[in-house]
Symmetry: C3
Subunit: 356 residues, 3 copies
């Protein structure tokens, strides 16, 4: 899948951007350096000095300015050179590209497309669970997958894979055997919902929610939301069986909301920022550790599979593939992406023409 | 050298294919997964699920079926999908390519070309020494060389290199200084023969055959057989000198038969399955260990040279080269390959046309 | 920057070429093997046997001849095959390319271009400090940088980077803030000179020259000479302040002459032979160790920056760049290179025509 540019992507967890630090990271094939000015405001530059293309990330912060570590050019936080050692004149063109950037939901969001179109109000709110709502607590992490970012979106939009790839932790046979109840596509995304009524609790949830006594049954839900370009939120949980079929009584159970921010690094490498809020045992450190480790290990299973999938795709990129029912949400998401990619490609030349 | 497809290649040693195991290996650039059904029959699939191209080698065996480890599609041993979780209909095209496969001579043989042409009777018999003939015992091994497979064929077809590359073990000056007695090309291969009469025994043979007393002389033979695409058998040995010149009395000596099955992994990587039978000290574990280690170490010397050769070829693929007398067998083998490659290229379109 | 061919490049330190040793190294993309005949004369062959392209560097010296380690072809030091095992006739074309080579200034110099144009008198003399002049002693070393060779030339022609990249060792603010006094281009090279009068001594010099008492000031000079294709000599030092402004009295100070021989390995890899002579504390082992370690560590800082610069250039090779005043010498050097590269390109076809 190609890249949509005029969208907000997560660039880093907010806490990764320490004061005085220059953080190098590649997005959509472009080398970027992230930093905060002393007032805490985050900034993003292309990671390339306008002078001799040294990586600015090898430089340093001087107050609210960035100095190239090679020949000492000094940039304002707006990317304009204001100091060149040994001379007073600053030549025309002495600036670097900056990227619109916003801090929200404990993350730093970057806009890799046309800056004129960047609207902070469009930062997705589906990471709201990372907010400071006292009903929730969260763990989170970062992984780098050596595969195209949309293989990870596909992965999350079809949770039948839990049964086969994650059988030891979150999967059991019911996920695979229960058809998706609904796949709905609207203007801004795709939602897939599945309810499993009166099933054996999967191991991870059984322990986490106290459903691990012999013979206990649960109602389990999975509500998955995709929004372009690559934001996926899973609202998943289990409640005591029979507390509210057909759609259960979620207040009698436990909910996890897996908030996945997936940012392309290159065509075949992906930044994976995951957040895992829960609404129970809020102050329980053991549960936090347990879920952090459990989710991390689960995602390592995904990583091995998706990187294997990428290797096989690379070996024969044109090999055909067969669709199954479980692909419904993924197919809808890919159609939406194809349309948006075509729209961006069409708009780019006309915006260029309008600017003349 | 390009790849001939309509031939049997060794894919694995038989013992590598353990019950319940899925073995991933690449042949002729194609990712393949090998496995046995519970009755012991070996099978080979392309290592790519027809659904979303996950490697099937990351899945599992369920009885006599293979289940993809990602979304759970179940394949019969014939490569046909018979189960898709959450649905009863199997879409058309739900199958993977299978490769003809045969177990013989303690090895698994695979046919990467047109399955309609695969005839198990054509599995080469030049690995007969690996059979259970009670007059022989054998050691063997596997190495992966990062070079084109035909550099290894060239290597084996001109044993003058023993003198220079393997001087510490099997080489001595006589190999290089004795012209090949005969190079014969017939319909199915090339045979090169060399006899060295009344020479000092090379170190490895001296120890192995008890020819290591001061002043002992031997008659030594090397009879090399190449059969396309890349099977080479060496019948080599030494006998007490003067026991039957010009061609010696082999019954008074010891014979090794190096059986080399060389399978292209990619254009620049090669599977090397070697077998080293002998007809003496059949039950002597020390001799087995000694020859296994000695041959392995000898082949590591070849590996360093052939990988160096590949690097130099890559640096200037069009650099000219000079032929010497010792190349006779290799030149014959390459001419045979060129003809067969041209025939396969010619035949492929006409078979395609006939199928219409 | 492309490669000039008809120039002398340093191939190795003289001491690297031990008797009986075959040293493999790549220059201007070509694999070369270096060795000495028993009389001590250095030689250079293409590292590719004319028979089957095995690397000759995996062979051995036999007296004053080189024997291929694969099939035993024997080459004279002039690159001509005089022995082929098992045959007496040597086929036409049995030779390898040799490269003109000269030992001077404790280094081995190679000529990668048209051998007819190689004149040992043209070996640059700007490494004279490595000579046995009793007024000097030296330390030296070798590094391999994964960047284009001219990034390293640029680096040395603009020492303002010392302030920013080497602030902990040789840099201080004065280097960057003092404009180059002169940049002069003549027929054979470019010279840049900078004098800093009455400044604080930089840390490394302060310790080395005994200028480290509180309040001491020095006059500091940097005289940089570039000669194509990539030889750079720095005559740098400090003297007690006020001993001879505007250009100081160098006899009252200490001088270092950094002699940099920069040889392209590939487009993005560079051999860096550095020599660091000094004219003080000639027999002081501690000072030798101190400067060797200090210079080495300083160049490691350069390596990190230049390799980062190469990565950023590779990510967007056509990205524009801005020139600043400090680039004066580098710009002159690049113009000289462009002219010489064009001349070599023009001359090559006409020489070829003349040879017909």
């Amino acid at each position: 899948m190609k890249f949509l540019r005029n969208y907000w992507y997560v660039a880093a967890w907010a806490k990764e951007l320490e004061p005085g630090k220059l953080l190098a990271r590649k997005f959509l094939n472009e080398p970027v350096v992230l930093f905060r000015t002393p007032d805490g405001t985050p900034h993003a530059f292309e990671d390339r000095c306008c002078h001799r293309r040294a990586p600015l990330s090898l430089g340093r912060m001087i107050g609210d300015k960035v100095q190239c570590g090679y020949h000492g050019l000094v940039y304002t936080a707006e990317g304009t050179v204001v100091g060149i050692p040994g001379q007073t004149l600053v030549p025309p063109g002495s600036q670097v590209r900056t990227y619109p950037i916003v801090e929200r939901w404990k993350a730093i969001w970057i806009w890799m497309g046309d800056a004129a179109l960047a609207d902070p109000a469009q930062v997705p709110d589906h990471l709201y669970y990372t907010n400071d709502d006292p009903k929730w607590t969260r763990v989170g992490g970062y992984l780098n997958f050596k595969c195209n970012y949309f293989l990870l979106v596909d992965n999350l939009l079809d949770l039948t894979h839990e049964t086969f790839l994650h059988g030891k932790t979150i999967g059991n046979e019911h996920v695979a055997n229960t058809p998706l109840a609904k796949v709905e596509r609207d203007e801004t995304g795709v939602t897939a919902s599945r309810w499993m009524i009166g099933i054996d609790p999967p191991p991870l949830y059984a322990k986490a929610g106290g459903f691990d006594k012999p013979g206990m049954k649960v109602d389990r839900w999975q509500i998955i939301r995709f929004e372009p370009p690559s934001h996926v939120t899973l609202d998943v949980g289990v409640a005591a069986a029979g507390t509210g079929a057909p759609e259960g009584d979620r207040s009698q159970g436990i909910t996890h909301a897996v908030c996945d921010a997936i940012t392309p690094e290159t065509e075949t490498a992906t930044h994976y920022f995951w957040s895992f809020p829960r609404n129970y045992k809020l102050n329980d450190a053991w549960t936090s550790d347990f879920t952090r480790t459990g989710v991390h290990n689960t995602f390592l299973e995904d990583q091995a599979m998706l990187e294997g999938q990428q290797r096989i795709i690379d070996a024969a990129p044109a090999a055909p593939q067969v669709d199954i029912n479980a692909d419904g949400a993924s197919i809808q998401a890919r159609r939406m992406m194809d349309r948006l990619l075509a729209e961006e490609a069409d708009a780019a030349p006309s915006r260029a023409a309008a600017a003349e």
